[in-house]
Amino acid sequence: MIFFVKRAIKDMNGNRFINAVTIVTIALSIFIVSAFGLFFHNVNNLMDTWKKGVRILAYVKKHTKESQITELKDKIQATQGVASLTFISKEESLNQMKDHMKRQAAIFKKLKENPLPDVFEIQMVGIQQGMDDIEILATRIESLPHVSSVEYGQKWLGRFMTMFNLIKFSGFALCGTFLMASVFIVANTIRLLFYSKQEEIEIMRLVGASDNFIKAPFYVEGIIQGVLGGVIGVTALLITYLLISSNMEQGILVDFLSIRFLPIKICLGIILCGIVAGWLGCYLSLKQILKY
């Protein structure tokens, strides 16, 4: 084993330029895929934060007794998909409204009686739901006794969901394509590299080297390339991330969103991808070259 690692390192040193190209290619591919991953990771986080703001408002029928309201509260609480809920009495609502519509304050002065209903503000469980899930939950709540009507979202929320889905969909599609393309490119870079070694492999076979003897250092080489490429790629991404995020701190984003780096698990996964790409490149090349 050590013998093969030594041979691999020696060989890499001898083909420095080609190896550098392969490693940089792997690093670049990984940088791009993971930059994209990082981007979506953050957009996702952002979306989640927003989605948390999505609430369902359940209006309580007029003249509902307090005991009935408590009962209703329990029922809503028990509904599947409800995380928590807040009761806002009609008095609170009116005060809020007054605050909100100061300019039209004249309206309120002329009121004798509070025309507003009591309302439950409902937070939903999970944050992955699309518009459909919200609708289902709303219908369910509307059908409860003493609920006069239900209101949820604004017009922009619909758009926002749609856009979120668009981004998510395109994101997955692009990420998938990137990943495949990267593996292809890396595999083929290694394969081209093999063209320069075909003669060497042929000679080794003629002097009686077994397939494993020939293959081992190539795999070691491919894996070393993968590791180096992966580490360089992720490091480059980290540096880029630090540069961007320190710029952003001073920028517009500071107040409500901070971009986050990929979790360590995913970083390791990415490096693993690099290794797999390196290995795959070897595997395909060797398979072709050693076929006879």
Binding site: I203, L206, G208, F213
Partner: protein
């Protein structure tokens, strides 16, 4: 195929054909080679000498016919056993086949690494074999920086390093001056008297004259009757 009636037959070719497209590079070759034979394969350029050697070490598959080596039928050797088969041969290729980006030492050491020898033994053995061909000063050189004759001597060194049972030599002295050629010839003689089997493909009548051995003559891929050869 007739049964091997001779325990000493190390190579047996029976009705062997090798075709490249329409051309018969070898046609109907029947040949027995015995342990410790010293065989010359003679013939003009393009006669099929190199092709005959290629078939023996499975450099190419036969088109028709059977080859037995040590009683093993080449057309039935599994892919996994080919390296073992090749290690019974030491081969001097006509075009040397040295690995360009490995040093002379690495090129020769390869043969020993392949059969799992220890690093210390390899060091010693490679040095000693380079000394016998007069190339010890070039141990760290790369083949493309060597002269034609130097490359050929490295190729000879590599072929004999692994103590093979059979030595296949394709024009082993073609690029050498008389003096260097004599050194190589003596090396081959020594190997032969150590019990090895030698097969030399050559067009060089002078080389054939210098050692007593059996001679076969190829012409357009066909084995000629012995009387056709005047040495």
């Amino acid at each position: 195929m007739p049964e091997s009636n001779d325990e000493n037959t190390i190579i047996r070719m029976f009705r062997v054909y090798k075709r490249y497209g329409a051309q018969n590079a070898l046609a109907d070759i029947n040949l027995d080679i015995r342990r410790n034979d010293f065989l010359f394969v003679n013939g003009p350029s393009g006669a099929g000498k190199s092709t005959l050697l290629k078939l023996l070490y499975l450099g190419e598959p036969v088109s028709e016919g059977q080859i037995l080596i040590n009683g093993m039928n080449l057309s039935r050797v599994s892919r996994k056993r080919i390296p073992d088969l090749r290690r019974t041969f030491g081969i001097i290729f006509q075009d040397y086949k040295l690995i360009s980006n490995k040093t002379v030492f690495e090129n020769i050491a390869l043969v020993l690494e392949v059969s799992g020898h220890k690093s210390k033994y390899i060091q010693k053995k490679v040095k000693s074999v380079l000394r016998t061909v007069g190339m010890e000063s070039k141990i760290d050189a790369y083949p493309p920086t060597l002269s034609g004759g130097e490359q050929q001597r490295i190729a000879v060194a590599r072929a004999i390093t692994g103590d093979p049972k059979i030595l296949l030599a394709d024009e082993p002295t073609g690029s050498l001056d008389a003096e260097s050629a004599m050194i190589i010839l003596n090396l081959l003689k020594e190997y032969h008297s150590g019990g090895g089997t030698v097969i030399i493909a050559t067009h060089d009548k002078e080389l054939i004259r210098s050692i007593r051995g059996r001679i076969i003559y190829l012409q357009d891929g066909q084995l000629q009757i012995p009387k056709a050869i005047e040495v």
